[in-house]
Every structure is written in structure tokens, then in C-alpha cells.
């Protein structure tokens, strides 16, 4: 047999790693506030949240530089101790490590993983062991329909993801019809189902709603259909690779509606398209120029974590989760899970992206703002009190740019 030593070593350390017995969660005065999370450092979400481990660390470091968080019950400041693992972007692994975080590492508070499927699997661990769980980028209603008591989510449910956009369309009353192009994965389909209803309520005519496989390379068939139906708005509910390929071919085949809306239009979308990304609308949690809470703090954390807001437009949602966690612990004044959870459910604070409170099932109130790429910059265009620029409508035809 080859490598016997290696095997003994690895198998041995495996069991040693297990022997790290459950931390003493119920100590009278804990020595630190243990916060756990998994981040998809590898796997399909790695390119979307890989560096967020640094963001979590930047937050914990910043809090600890100030001496930690003051908790009334223990009458002292406690430092934050962060425990993170790589969930490899897969639900089974996420589940496994949340179980580890709860039972082996003895965390007091959990932040959710990226995406609804992972959160769905991970939150069973926190529910079972009764540990408060703050979900972040996981807005599928399925996650919150299960009657779980130990979960809250920063952001609003997926069907309402772009409601402010439809409000704007209705208020402006310029567009009359819309055509949907949808990528067949959980989040885009969820957004599409909600948006379709919202569009109809806003008085628009839905001319087509086509759900295409995520690996679609050639969009000629749907583009031809859209050219024939000629909707005012072409609404692409998809992840970024899908949207980039669609936009490129829309340009090649000269599809010129009055507006393109691609729900995700981050820097990763804008850079490959260059000038062709101009005028496209999408959704942003926060853009510089918005005034809620403490934008400077957020920007300095981003800088410390070396994260570019344009490339990771969901990073503000993480900031809001930090703010909620701090406020909840501050108000509860204890790490007792039941008290902490009760405080969180009753919380009402203004975070970076606006006011937050939680519904009975845990779903929060933070939603995205419609933002338009204007000369390579993201500008919030609705509602008026947070807008950073005026909405440009209609989009000029390809030939006139």
C-alpha cells in the first residue's frame, strides 16, 4: 500500500479535529462573542462571494479595535470571535459546517451562507439547536415558509425584489409593455414570477415570458421573437453570465427596445460589455450618495477587505447584517439565545440601505433600488428621496449611440 503514513496522519488528524469538544456555550460570562458563517470560497459562488471572508474579518477587527461590544448583563465589552468555513457552494457541505459551527465551535450567532438553497439546508441546523441565524442573500419564500423561529433575513422576499422599479414604471407611465427573458435557476425564476405580477399590476402588458436553460449560448430564437413582439421593456431576470451573453447578441442582432432591465448589472456585467452596458437598468442595494446610517464606515470596511463595490453589489447587504447583529446584541444586552432572538424580531433600526424590521416569518424589509448605468457609473433613479440621478428613458437605439 502506498502512502501509509499520509493516511494515518490524515485519518488521525480527522479524529483529533473531532475531539475538539463542544465549547462551553452556557458559561455564565462568555469570554467572547462567537459569530459563525460559511462563505463560498470555492465552487460556483466563489466568484460572487469568495472575498467576503475578508469583509467579515474586517468587521470583526474593526469592532475589536474598539474593544468589542458592550453587553449589559456581563457589564463589560466582549470581543468578537469569528469562525468561518468554506461551504464549496453546495448545500450538503453548508449544512455540515453549520452543524459544526453550532455544536463544535459553540457560536452565539450565525450569518447565513450565500443563496437560498444553501440557506435552506444550513438553517435546519440553527433551528434544531436554537441559535439565532441572520440570513443575508437568501430571499426565496420557500426558506421562510417552514415556520422556523430562529431565522431572520435582511432582505425582502424574491417576488418583491424589483417592486420599486415597477413603481417607477407606473409613476412615469411611459412604457406600455414588457417581455421577460428568464434564466432557469432559483433566484431569477423567483424574481420573474413576482415581477410578472407586479408588471401587470403596474398596468403593463406582458407580451412574452420565456424561461431558458442557464447554459443557453445562442439567444437568436428569443431575440427574433422579441423583435417581432417589440415590447417597450426587455426584462432579463438572470445571473450575470447569461445577461452578458444576451446583451451581446441583442446588440449583434440589433434588438432595440426602449429599455433593457437586467436585474444583476454589477461591474462583472459592465466590464465585458463596455459602452454597450450604458442605459441598462438593474438593481442596487446601495450606491455612493445615499445617506442612510453610516456610509463612511461601510466604505472603510470595504477598503480594508479590498472589495470593489461595483463587482460585489450585494456587499451592502452584509453590512446591514452586521448593523442588525450589533444593534440586537446591544439592545438585548446578553447572549442568551432566546432573548437575542426576541430582541431581533422586535428590532427597528435604520441601516445603510434603509429602515429594517422583520415580519413574523423572519423576512426583512431591505429591498433594492432601481439603478441605471450612466456613462459607466451606477445611479439610483427611484424613489426621489434616494435617487442620485434622473432616469434616462427611452434608451437610444444601437445605431444612434
Amino acid at each position: 500500500m502506498r502512502m501509509p503514513m499520509l493516511i494515518i496522519w490524515i485519518v488521525g488528524s480527522f479524529f483529533v479535529s473531532l475531539i475538539k469538544l463542544p465549547a462551553n456555550v452556557h458559561a455564565d460570562v462568555p469570554d467572547a462573542i462567537r459569530v459563525g458563517a460559511t462563505v463560498s470560497v470555492s465552487g460556483k459562488f466563489a466568484t460572487e462571494v469568495g472575498p467576503f471572508q475578508r469583509l467579515l474579518k474586517a468587521w470583526a477587527d474593526e469592532v475589536n479595535r474598539r474593544g468589542g461590544l458592550y453587553l449589559k448583563k456581563y457589564n463589560r465589552k466582549l470581543p468578537l470571535q469569528l469562525v468561518t468555513y468554506d461551504d464549496r457552494s453546495d448545500a450538503a457541505t453548508a449544512r455540515r459546517y453549520y452543524e459544526r459551527l453550532v455544536t463544535v465551535d459553540g457560536v452565539h450567532l450565525l450569518f447565513g451562507p450565500y443563496s437560498s438553497p444553501l440557506t435552506f439546508a444550513a438553517s435546519t441546523a440553527s433551528e434544531q439547536h436554537q441559535v439565532p441565524f441572520i440570513a443575508i442573500c437568501a430571499n426565496s419564500p420557500k426558506v421562510y415558509d417552514r415556520g422556523f423561529k430562529w431565522i431572520v433575513c435582511i432582505i425582502d422576499a424574491a417576488p418583491r425584489y424589483t417592486y420599486r422599479y415597477w413603481e417607477m414604471v407606473q409613476a412615469e407611465a411611459k412604457a406600455r409593455s414588457v417581455g421577460f427573458v428568464v434564466e432557469d435557476t432559483l433566484h431569477p425564476v423567483g424574481v420573474y414570477k413576482g415581477s410578472r405580477k407586479l408588471a401587470e399590476q403596474a398596468g403593463l402588458k406582458v407580451l412574452v415570458g420565456e424561461v431558458l436553460p442557464a447554459d443557453t449560448g445562442d439567444f437568436t430564437p428569443i431575440i427574433l421573437k422579441l423583435k417581432k413582439l417589440n415590447p417597450d421593456i426587455v426584462y432579463v431576470s438572470s445571473n450575470i453570465p447569461f445577461a452578458v451573453a444576451f446583451m451581446k447578441q441583442a446588440k449583434e442582432l440589433n434588438l432595440s427596445p426602449r429599455e433593457f432591465h437586467c436585474i444583476h448589472h454589477s461591474g462583472v456585467f459592465r466590464q465585458p460589455l463596455g459602452p454597450a452596458a450604458d442605459y441598462v437598468l438593474g438593481q442596487s442595494y446601495w450606491e455612493p450618495g445615499m445617506k442612510y446610517s453610516d456610509p463612511d464606515r461601510f466604505l472603510s470596511l470595504l477598503k480594508e477587505a479590498k472589495i470593489d463595490l461595483d463587482d460585489y453589489p450585494w456587499s451592502p447587504a452584509y453590512m446591514m447584517a452586521f448593523e442588525v447583529a450589533e444593534a440586537a446584541m446591544n439592545q438585548a444586552g446578553t447572549l442568551d439565545p432566546a432573548v437575542l432572538m426576541k430582541t431581533m424580531k422586535g428590532l427597528r433600526i435604520t441601516t445603510l440601505g434603509g429602515p429594517v424590521w422583520f415580519a413574523d416569518n423572519g423576512v426583512g424589509t431591505i429591498n433594492t433600488y432601481p439603478s441605471q448605468i450612466q456613462h459607466g457609473k451606477y445611479q439610483i433613479v427611484w424613489p426621489a428621496e434616494v435617487a442620485t440621478a434622473k432616469h434616462i428613458y427611452p434608451t437610444p437605439a444601437w445605431a444612434d449611440r
Binding site: 500500500m1 480527522f14 468554506d86 455540515r96 441546523a125 433551528e127
Partner: protein, 306 residues
């Protein structure tokens, strides 16, 4: 260990009872006491290990005894996961759902066996990989049934103990089946086909029948494993259930030490779980590379065999 140049009677006498018995004993002790000691996390790790053992040993029937490079193992894992979830979602109990999954796996394996047995070598590998793609496509296309690409979710597991016990029973049953199969007539036929398929047919072995049986025998445990995992995490999604990982991990576990034996895949499964646990909790960026490096090592070693 068993080598191909043994005569059949020698082979029949050769039963490495000691090793397997000790392993079984050790495994049982471990498995019964560890969850009590280490709580829920130990239980999850053990379930993973036991599922891996099941997958590795059932893979070995086609990948080790028959010696084919087989990438379709995940098809049956996904099938089992979906059938179990669908049945559970319609109010069936776990044992009934698992039985359904096993029956369906049996019939699908029997059907797929018809065209697959005509293939050999890399064509077989390629075709089985294609089946995996087909499985994930079908799961996401039949969305009214399977929930499409968004996946299918179940209410939380009402009895984790039952799931755990069934996983344990499945793993032990698979070990015993494999152990018996290796020295049975069918096992010997498979080994003969592996050494020289044309020769095997010329001495009167019905290679096609043996291959079909091997496919079926390998499909049932892995389908049950899929069903149990689906119950455990209460969620299935096409890209994961029919993911390459459930074909690849068994291949690695089976090939790592000594394919075609009971202890080889067993040790491979324990090794891979341990390696995953150790490497993935300490080093990021190593999800695929771990598999990549193991594949290259196995490929290079395989080339060394006479």
C-alpha cells in the same frame, strides 16, 4: 491479496475474513458510540462517511470488479434522491419511499444496461457521463414534478435517528454484499471479464448478462444512499443531485487503494471523508483541486499496472 493468476479453487478459498471482520467490528463500535460522544456534528460526519462507504463499494462492482471507468454512478444517486423526495413529499414514510427508489433504480439500471453493455473502455465512460448530463436535464425540465432547476424541498426531518439507523444498516449491508459478491460465481465472472473480455466469452461466460447484473447491483445501494441524503438535508436540486461529484467521489474512493477488494474502497471512503474534513476546513480553494490531484495520481498509478 487476490491476484489474477490464482486458480479458481484457490480464489474461492481465499477469504480475507480477518481484515473485513475487524473492520466491520471497528466500524460498528465507532458508529454506535461516536454520535453519543460528539453530538450532532459527529453524527453528520458519520452519515457522510457511511454514505461514502456505500457509494464506494457499490461503485466497485462496476469500477473495480468489472474494471470499467464508470461515470454514471451519480445518475442513480440523483434518481434515488428525487424519487425519495417526491414520495416523501406525497406523505409516504421513509422506508416506503426508499423501497420505491430502489425499485425504480433497479428497473432503470436494467433498461440502461441494454445499450450500455455494448460499450467498452472510454466509450463506456463517455456514455455514462452523458447519462449524468441527461439526468440533470430531465430533473430540471420536468419542473411540474421536480420543481425544476429551483429544486425540491421537504419539511424538516422528523426522525433523524431513523435516518441514521437506516444509513448504518445500508452501509453494513453493502459491505456484506460486496464481500459475498467478490467470491460468488458472478464476482468471479466479472473479474474474468475484466482481465480479458473476449477470452471470457470464449470460455462460455455470458459477459453481457454479467455486466447487466453488475450495473443493477451497483445501482441499488447508491440510489438508497441518494434517498437517505435527500432526507438528511431535506433538499434536492438537479445540479447537486446529478452533479459530477457523486460519480467522481466513488471513482476516487474505489481506485485510490485497491479496486476489486472490499477493504480498498472501504478505506478509500474513510480516507476521502477524512481528507475532505481536514483539508476543506483548513485550506480554502481546494474543492476541485483535491479531486484533480487524486485523479492524476490514480491515473499515473493505473498506467503503472502491468
Amino acid at each position: 491479496m487476490a491476484s489474477p493468476d490464482m486458480t479458481i479453487s484457490q480464489y474461492k478459498q481465499f477469504r480475507p475474513k480477518g481484515i473485513v471482520l475487524i473492520m466491520l467490528l471497528g466500524l460498528t463500535v465507532l458508529v454506535v458510540f461516536v454520535p453519543a460522544l460528539w453530538g450532532a456534528y459527529g453524527r453528520i460526519l458519520l452519515i457522510t462517511t457511511l454514505l461514502y462507504i456505500t457509494m464506494a463499494l457499490s461503485y466497485d462492482v462496476v469500477g473495480g470488479l468489472l474494471g470499467y471507468i464508470y461515470l454514471g454512478h451519480g445518475v442513480f444517486f440523483g434518481l434515488g434522491a428525487y424519487v425519495t423526495s417526491l414520495a416523501l413529499g406525497r406523505g409516504q414514510t421513509l422506508p416506503v419511499s426508499l423501497t420505491l427508489a430502489a425499485c425504480l433504480a433497479l428497473s432503470v439500471a436494467a433498461l440502461l444496461g441494454l445499450p450500455l453493455i455494448r460499450l467498452r473502455g472510454p466509450v463506456f465512460a463517455l456514455a455514462t457521463l452523458g447519462l449524468l448530463l441527461l439526468g440533470s436535464q430531465l430533473a430540471s425540465n420536468m419542473s411540474s414534478w421536480t420543481g425544476g432547476a429551483a429544486g425540491l424541498s421537504l419539511p424538516p426531518n422528523p426522525s433523524p435517528k431513523l435516518t441514521y439507523a437506516l444509513t448504518l444498516v445500508l452501509a453494513l449491508a453493502t459491505i456484506l454484499t460486496h464481500w459475498q459478491l467478490r467470491v460468488s460465481r458472478l464476482g468471479l465472472k466479472l473479474v474474468t471479464v475484466r482481465e480479458d473480455e473476449d477470452m471470457a466469452e470464449s470460455v462460455g461466460i455470458d459477459a453481457s448478462k454479467a455486466k447487466r447484473l453488475a450495473l443493477i447491483i451497483s445501482a441499488i445501494p447508491v440510489a438508497l444512499a441518494g434517498g437517505l441524503q435527500a432526507r438528511e438535508i431535506s433538499f434536492v436540486i438537479p445540479t447537486e443531485a446529478f452533479g459530477l461529484e457523486h460519480s467522481l467521489a466513488p471513482l476516487l474512493m474505489c481506485m485510490l487503494f485497491k479496486p476489486g477488494t472490499t477493504w480498498g474502497p472501504l478505506l478509500g471512503a474513510v480516507f476521502l471523508t477524512a481528507a475532505q474534513e481536514f483539508i476543506w476546513t483548513t485550506l480554502p480553494h481546494f474543492r476541485l483541486s483535491l479531486y484533480g490531484i487524486l485523479l492524476i495520481i490514480i491515473g499515473t498509478q493505473r498506467a503503472r499496472r502491468p
